[in-house]
């Protein structure tokens, strides 16, 4: 899906710095500083986590940090809202299962 390079109102996308991150071990590229969720969607990744009780998939929902549907494990920290967390070079992003690896609730 990638980024929208040409847009009738927004114009041509400026040259941006790309970063490489790992998602469940696989390398993908994103634009530095964009929300992790935007980079994932641009790479066609839509499932961000699975719920605790029923193991159901969840992904982006509100896109502005209000609903927590988009949380993932980022650099070992669970429950990171990917729609409002900027992407940085070398991040290790993982699909979150339940409350996440470090959770004491499991």
């Amino acid at each position: 899906m990638a980024h929208i390079e040409e847009h009738p109102i927004l114009g041509t996308m400026e040259k941006k710095k790309y970063v490489t991150v790992k998602v469940d071990g696989r390398e993908i590229q994103g634009i530095e500083g964009e929300p992790i969720a935007a980079a994932l969607l641009a790479n066609g990744i839509k499932i961000f986590r699975f719920t605790h009780k029923f193991n159901e998939p969840r992904g982006l929902f509100c896109g502005i940090g209000q609903c927590t549907d988009c949380v993932m494990e980022v650099d070992g920290v669970p429950n990171v809202r990917t729609c409002v967390t900027p992407i940085r070079e070398g991040m290790e992003i993982k699909t979150q299962h339940g409350f996440g690896k470090e959770s004491t609730y499991e």
Binding site: M1, M13, A37, I47, L60, C62
Partner: protein, 367 residues
């Protein structure tokens, strides 16, 4: 150091308007927002506004945002971003966190401009990845230049549904349909005409029955509704879509206002529960003012003017300027707001607002 005349919470058009006016009249002003960039919903609004010149008719949302930011900076508004407010305590103490750091501020007056949340709709499959709010789609496309899918169905023909559909088309996506439960379009005719010209069909008296997909959204089942809004059996049909956008209204983000002990009221026209306020945007708590979507969901232009009004009102409360002078400025904004609330849609909001303002609510001051 952390003491201010006015603390504004929320940096959307309402909060920016409030901060700019308060600072312009000499109030030491702090503006807090949880995002790394101020502007609230304004920067995703890439369409031209209409209305009068004072309301930036013909200007696009993001340009209005840029101008406000410049104004705020030139007036020395102290801006703290990435800062989420979690509490307001007696004495006007505002507590927030920025990353892992806790912060504390003190404000003589506090203006809440926390905006709104999008409503959700439940149906089988509504939790599947690919079912998102219209705002999420707008944020991804217009701010981050990422299309969250290729084939969209949009639920709701209010202005948000119409505008987002058009903007998805502009970004190169396919919009299969806008689905509306009512027998008529709920948004402005201008916006509806635009999406129709862009080739999007609007299905009136229809709703989503189910979203289907193994792990992500693959199909949307729609059906027809009868005059009592009940699904008509046998009218179901399926669209292959990878994204379903919900544009079914907004509700004021009242948490902080409730926490402050502001008297809450219910207004269906303005989005649900909201803090009561008087004609000068003052709540039942003497120190607290409100503006924008929090004070009833409307539009960016009304939010901005309500914010300006609240900013002036705070200055008046603090007695920083000649009462009459500020009052005259406030009257001008009130007149503008009345003009904005005209027409078949605006009129309802005007009546709802008047109803709220005329309620007799006892003033308290536990903060």
């Amino acid at each position: 150091m952390n003491k201010f005349d006015v603390i504004v919470i929320g940096g959307g058009p309402a909060g920016l308007g409030a901060a700019v006016e308060a600072a312009r009249l000499g109030a030491r002003t702090l503006l807090l927002d949880e995002n790394s960039r101020p502007g609230g919903q304004l920067f995703k609004q890439i369409h031209k506004f209409f209305g009068s010149k004072e309301h930036y008719a013909g200007t696009r949302g993001f340009d209005i945002g840029e101008n406000l930011l410049k104004e705020a900076a030139s007036l020395n508004v102290v801006l703290k971003l990435d800062t989420r407010v979690w509490g307001v305590f007696p004495g006007g103490i505002v507590t927030a966190y920025c990353g892992e750091k806790g912060l504390k501020f003190e404000g003589k007056t506090i203006i809440l401009a926390t905006g709104a949340s999008e409503n959700v709709l439940s149906f089988p499959g509504s939790t599947l990845p690919g079912v998102i709010t219209a705002g999420a789609a707008q944020t991804m496309v217009n701010l981050h230049r990422v299309l969250p899918g290729k084939k969209f169905v949009v639920v709701g023909s209010g202005n948000v549904g119409l505008i987002v559909s058009y903007q998805l088309k502009q970004a190169g996506a396919e919009v299969l349909a806008i689905v509306e439960a009512l027998p008529q379009i709920s948004g402005y005719a201008v916006h509806a005409a635009k999406v129709k010209r862009a080739g999007v069909r609007i299905l009136l008296s229809h709703t989503v029955k189910e979203a289907i997909g193994e792990k992500i959204l693959e199909q949307v089942i729609l059906c027809k509704l009868d005059s009592n809004m009940k699904p008509i059996a046998g009218t179901e049909f399926t669209l292959d879509a990878d994204t379903l956008c919900l544009a079914v209204g907004l509700n004021p983000r009242v948490e902080l206002a409730a926490l402050c002990g502001c008297h809450l009221i219910y207004s269906p026209v303005l989005g649900g529960m909201m803090p009561w306020h008087d004609e000068n945007m003052c709540t039942s708590q003497s120190r607290i003012l409100v503006a924008g979507d929090l004070a009833g969901v409307e539009e960016a232009s009304t939010a901005l003017d309500e914010g300006r009004l609240a900013g002036l009102s705070a200055v008046q409360k603090l007695g920083l300027r000649n009462f009459k002078e500020v009052d005259d400025e406030m009257q001008k904004i009130k007149d503008r707001l009345t003009k904005l609330r005209q027409g078949p849609f605006g009129e309802k909001r005007q009546l709802a607002k008047q109803g709220i303002i005329s309620m007799k609510i006892p003033k308290e001051s536990c903060l």
